[in-house]
Symmetry: D2
């Protein structure tokens, strides 16, 4: 129940504050024998790194990961993998001002209510930098999924009111534009919109969609540890995420059963498929073998330079303008965090899914002899 641990069998424990000595994660329950080096982790961390476009914070952060344990001769040993990213630039002085008031849309007020005080430097533990540990752990989870041929791909489905269709999809485009949006034309519209809002000292939100391909069927533990319930928790635990939906999600609530039900069919080779995938790859909380598709609603960055009213710790009503270098839009950098959390949740569920049938278990141990 301790708050910075996620997962039961494949379990991660993250730590670190925005302006502390560093941030990191301990990955416990990782199977032995996976080839793993720092570059495997670094390439994912680089995707969440700031300063990569004019639409992201211009802070320069290196975020070089160091693996401290759990690897021997290039492979995971089955023991905990500890990873650290040291904080290079800790200019705490930037933040002395916000120590005394509660930024709207931030966790300043609630941290004070809960803990009595807070590390106010750069948001402390509630900073977006907290996701470094998630992404580092997620890189390992994604490696495990890859060994099972499962891929996890997230991208910006919409930013502001600019939305793309699943059909126009080009992941090459997504990786090459600063919005992680797999539709060149839409991305250009977003650039226009973003520039305007930046000049207004305002910020933008958006929706991230994630597709899991080649998912193993039969994964998920009814009735509480359903695959989608676990994914929901994993994704909703990401800062700034205010909603989660799987398949048609909230749209499903508006249509009728005749429209929403996916019909099974079987081809001549005996392969089972569905004529549609309104369910998003999950039935009764268990994967059905089709693509898992879910979306996360990301709120606009709360840190804006425009003037806002709020209160200080003494209870005085004041007006503030948040200084510092902030992302006008968090969606593009959050894409890899969504992939990471989805992968971590899936690995945990897949592992537990190995014990569903006694025959499979007996067979597993008989073959090991």
């Amino acid at each position: 129940m301790a708050g910075s641990t996620f997962g039961e069998i494949f379990r991660i424990s993250t730590w670190g504050e925005s302006h502390g000595k560093g941030l990191g994660v301990v990955v416990d329950g990782c199977p032995a024998g996976i080839e793993l080096c720092e570059e495997d982790i670094q390439k994912f961390l680089d995707r969440r790194k700031p300063g990569q476009s004019q639409f992201a914070t211009q802070r320069s952060e290196d975020d070089a990961v160091e693996i401290m344990s759990g690897i021997f001769e290039g492979k995971t040993t089955g023991t905990p993998i500890s990873m650290i990213v040291y904080n290079k630039t800790q200019r705490s002085s930037d933040y002395s001002e916000i120590s005394n008031y509660y930024r709207p849309g931030h966790a300043d007020y609630t941290f004070d209510k809960k803990y009595g005080f807070r590390d106010y430097r750069g948001g402390g533990r509630s900073s977006g930098r907290e996701t470094i540990g998630r992404v580092a752990a997620g890189a390992i989870a994604i490696k495990i999924l890859e060994s099972l041929n499962i891929t996890v791909t997230a991208y910006a489905k919409s930013i502001g009111n600019i939305e793309i269709d699943y059909e126009n999809f080009s992941m090459v485009d997504a990786r090459s534009n600063p919005f992680s949006m797999p539709d060149k034309e839409a991305a250009e519209k977003v650039a226009e919109y973003a520039k305007q809002k930046m000049s207004d000292k305002d910020s933008i939100g958006g929706i991230i969609e994630c597709v899991v391909k080649n998912m193993i069927p039969g994964i998920g533990e009814p009735v509480f540890e359903k695959l989608d319930a676990n994914l929901a928790k994993a994704i909703m635990s990401i800062g700034a995420v205010k909603g989660f939906e799987i398949g048609d999600g909230f749209e499903a609530a508006k249509v009728t059963g005749l429209i929403n039900n996916d019909h099974f069919r079987c081809d001549t080779d005996g392969n089972v498929s569905k004529e549609s995938n309104h369910a998003g790859g999950v039935l009764g909380g268990i994967s059905d073998g089709t693509d898992i598709i879910f979306r996360a609603a990301v709120k606009p960055t709360p840190s804006i330079a425009a003037i806002q009213s709020t209160i200080d710790r003494q209870g005085d009503n004041i007006e503030v303008s948040i200084k510092g270098r902030h992302d006008p839009i968090i969606v593009p950098r959050a894409v890899v965090v969504v992939e990471a959390m989805a992968a971590i949740s899936l690995v945990d569920m897949i592992f537990i899914g190995m014990t569903s049938k006694i025959d499979d278990i007996v067979d597993f141990f008989n073959r090991k002899e």
Copy 2:
């Protein structure tokens, strides 16, 4: 990780199938000294009971709860509370037909993939009757919340495309109409729409909104056991729920920071409030003391009498029409399940929240001496 357990400190374990001997729940970690009798539970079970209107299944189910343990002289003892509802009508013969094929939109196929076979009678464990254990446990959680002055109220926010405003709210209306919709006019429109879809042998979905009033601030454990992440898992674990959002949810993704940020203010008595509540009562995963507001998207009932194509266990493509007495719309009966799961999640989070500050802990034990 076992699938039918929810919660860590306040923990429930549900069991039972639609057509087995009964269904029930064990509530572990319930504090001692709460006045509790079967009537306290029964009134919540009665709200989920079928057959209460022409828009619900006409199956007659008594669903009388029996408390088996954990109560002595009218009070909880701190030991597990076991509750049972016996199944009265177990006409398994009704279901012999569906044993051999996979109903679209149901968990038949995924249960077979996961477990190798399934109890097909009435959906077995994936039946809506599984929620009996949740509601019985939720009744206790709600009692605990009441002792802390916290209330949890859910209702139909929309059914099909008919949606109500938060402002037109009358819970008296909600309890008196068959749709749990706190707006008489809207409820009448829904009745028209429902009648039409029933004559089409089709079904309807909707959105349930839930409001938690007088919530204690400072509850929620960043970064993974955030209050909203836990609620999301609790609610997404309910069958037929395809989406969860808190506060403005998916709408927040479309607006800008200037619109979405809630400004704090302090009145002359020193009470802190927010000028708006786009966040839904949670900042950084911790309650801020304002109303917690979240919504759940409920898909249309998958059991419909209209003809659908699907496959049987042998892999043949067939056409089916689901027989039996099914709810054309599950939303009204799911309202109390949403309240139950929210309450269970909140109690667990509130209990863990007692250990946030060392001074509070020391004070707690000093006063007990």
Copy 3:
């Protein structure tokens, strides 16, 4: 953390008090496909049943188990298995006297300190009847172990000061004498000793030894979820158990490394064995494939008819003589409880052990396709 749940993947939740309506257990995470009927459970419950000899309480308890869920067509479905034993004889009047004082060696005082009051009838939740749920769940765990060819056998190693050698072992004798002691001669000595202590209105303790044969090597999760650490918790959670040791246990603390180290050897067929088993089948918290041997120290029954001094709830010093039908020696009936808890712990550890190596995991899913 809720106290009446044990296990993570294979998880049991017990409930019930000595004089409530009944006692039971929910077994969650049991794999699908295991043949299981009430007789499989009943034969284990019968072994813990009282009234089987003059050396056990003469209470007559039927303790007939009823399986409420999780079985379909004679097999486990993978969903929770709920089992109930109704209490037949609830003569609460017998216990009105003890409601007001604290029996020495019992949990009366601590329950009052913890919960504010207690169900005093027959010890309530702290009664030995609480083990009914453990034994019922253990019967299923033992079935799972049997399918992996693993056997768990416990017996009385010593009663009072009468101790037997591992060599004189005859389980046929153990099952046929009232002390579960696999040495006829020793059992006769115990009978003499027990008669004497019963006439003194006194009670006796003893040591239970348990041997797990054909254990899978490589099971146990360092560094905290070691196989022996888990077994220790499982066994120490049984009422009246005051000590746990594995292999040579406390004797190992007195000898030197040269004596205590077990030497590996390899025969011409490539089979690895050890020349001795001082370790008790566990090295570094992981099973080594040899017999797991552990012991539990069981204190003498605290309920004795001899006069003892104690206090009442008002704080007056008083003298009492515990009335009612109590076991003068709990060891024989606890033997099956030790087997049950060991089996439950082992199944949980074996299941988690399936995820130790990535190659085994990949192979598992590849073969399922």
Copy 4:
């Protein structure tokens, strides 16, 4: 269930191998507001440091701890506390020899069986250095207990066959002699014995006793999360511990109820005490407010220079003599590890104990307003 995590509310995750870059721990769920600096941790690490006498390994290890997160302005913030000890001397070449064979009494064989291979340098994860993380986390737990006036003190109760009485106790002596034995005379006998066994290239075991004073009554969660069951797991998870007993432990199994029952008494001030403490401070798994006393059996160090037979990875029977600098007796250095694990377990149980009574919970939140 992941193996390197311990505790539910107060949760630690340790990581690191003997010859990796370092070792450490993440402490999650630590309350905010505790004054904490590196010196608070270091003094406990110094007690487990090797090279402090001729009877300990002469390796020189600095083991300087660095706190990476969770502290702000000298106080815990409620967020995870990450602590690291870098490994200074990583002469892996020393260990090339043991990479190919299985040392008797070590986890080499079982690690290979479980994970397929192992980090053989200095024992890797199964090295005694793994306890660094435990001791660092334990230092924080002990601080929390101190704020509740609870003290945890362990010492060598016996080494080889030299045993001391509880009465001759002088903790001043214990801290000043190399055996942590609070009886000067006995410690001198141990020195003689140890010198002899060292010259025999042999090693010695012993028994550690631990006393918890001023324990809060009412702590412990029947029936599985009993205080003693949790302590047993915590202590048995320490490498080399082969047995655990509470109160009279295995001796209790030999006596009768009349001897073993502790009689309550109440003095004129209304204070409840017991005339004896055979139970070791726990009744029915719940603390009774008297001293908690338990013992751990520590086996002789398996690494000895004397010649032993074993097998290599190819299955050949060979003879070996373990080289390197090893403790001839691990007991003195394990004393602080026992204190650490006991404290961690107790803090977790005390926190959960805050939710036993509804009145206490309501009172807690009412007072916070």
